[in-house]
Symmetry: C7
Subunit: 72 residues, 7 copies
Amino acid sequence: MEIIRPLDIITQSKGKEILVEMKNGKQYKGKLVASDVHPNMVLEEVTELDTNKKLPWIFLRGDNISLIKPPE
Amino acid sequence: MEIIRPLDIITQSKGKEILVEMKNGKQYKGKLVASDVHPNMVLEEVTELDTNKKLPWIFLRGDNISLIKPPE
Amino acid sequence: MEIIRPLDIITQSKGKEILVEMKNGKQYKGKLVASDVHPNMVLEEVTELDTNKKLPWIFLRGDNISLIKPPE
Amino acid sequence: MEIIRPLDIITQSKGKEILVEMKNGKQYKGKLVASDVHPNMVLEEVTELDTNKKLPWIFLRGDNISLIKPPE
Amino acid sequence: MEIIRPLDIITQSKGKEILVEMKNGKQYKGKLVASDVHPNMVLEEVTELDTNKKLPWIFLRGDNISLIKPPE
Amino acid sequence: MEIIRPLDIITQSKGKEILVEMKNGKQYKGKLVASDVHPNMVLEEVTELDTNKKLPWIFLRGDNISLIKPPE
Amino acid sequence: MEIIRPLDIITQSKGKEILVEMKNGKQYKGKLVASDVHPNMVLEEVTELDTNKKLPWIFLRGDNISLIKPPE
């Protein structure tokens, strides 16, 4: 992956599964549909890791995100 | 749903029921009436999930929102 | 109520009783006198719900507001 | 009192006694000397309500203020 | 003291002893050397009130300041 | 290392292993791939120090970072 | 030291040992290499006071800094 700016790794993850950890520690795994510079993000085919609930989609507010990593 | 920018999923949810989780963990389910870029939001026919109270409408301040997802 | 932008529901509540919940969970019920885009707000004929104290008026700082809803 | 914008109630309280509650819950009662748009504020003839200490003046930083109300 | 804007009381305290309380409740007493609009501040001949330690100077970051008052 | 502005030490760490501590105390060690002015950062060959998990990469949101230091 | 603006005391501490306290209370002692207006800072020959660990350098994010003072 050619990463020049940090946000590149998010845009290049479009269509791939990623894991997002929020500032409150909650984690969400899903396929990245869209992201912006905050980075607000929309995932689909989502799993809420702490409840194991399945969701068709989720909107995660950028300023509440702590980190993003590949799914374990 | 054609999602280009993350906020598209909110604007495309207008008139539909969504579930909003605030930074303090409180959740509100209701029909999306209006939203903006923060995203401040107004829902109607609202249920406060932790008290099960019914409200005709609610204004949720954007910077206090953590995530938005379809109702369970 | 014709709500185009979320803040419309606040401006259209002018003169009506509303309930405001702050980020620390405290709730204030009163008649909306004025609001702005933050939304800083002034209520009159106010009840502090957790102490049941009556106040002639209150100024609530916008960035400390979590949500606004009709009085229960 | 003619209140058009919420901050009007602060400017119109100049010279009067008001009660200011900070985000950490501490309350200060005193005569309003000056305020600005944040609203940073200076009170004089001040009482720190939780210690009952008397102070000639106090500067309260705007972003740490939660609400303002008339003294009880 | 002629206070038009709240920050005037800080600029007019230059060379005088003041007491600064931070958002975490820690208090610092010292002679005000310099301040700006945030208000970042530099005090000299400083006492850390909770440890009673003496310091030649201290830089206090403005956004972490809660209030400023005369020394007790 | 010639460090004129603080962010220089991050840009000059590109390709090197660094340790990043987040505001919640969690620490991540990895090779710096990209950074920007916030400083959002992407690390690869990552170790989550508190779980010892290995990750191919991680995106760390700048405003949630507390400090950066060389690996111990 | 000629201090006109508060940040002057940081720029004038370049090459000198200072002690930086973060918002979470952690303290770092080291020689100031670089600082900017936030004030992001880089120290070298660093001691992490609560663990007594020695580090060749550290980058401290400005918005997470509470205060700066001379080493005790």
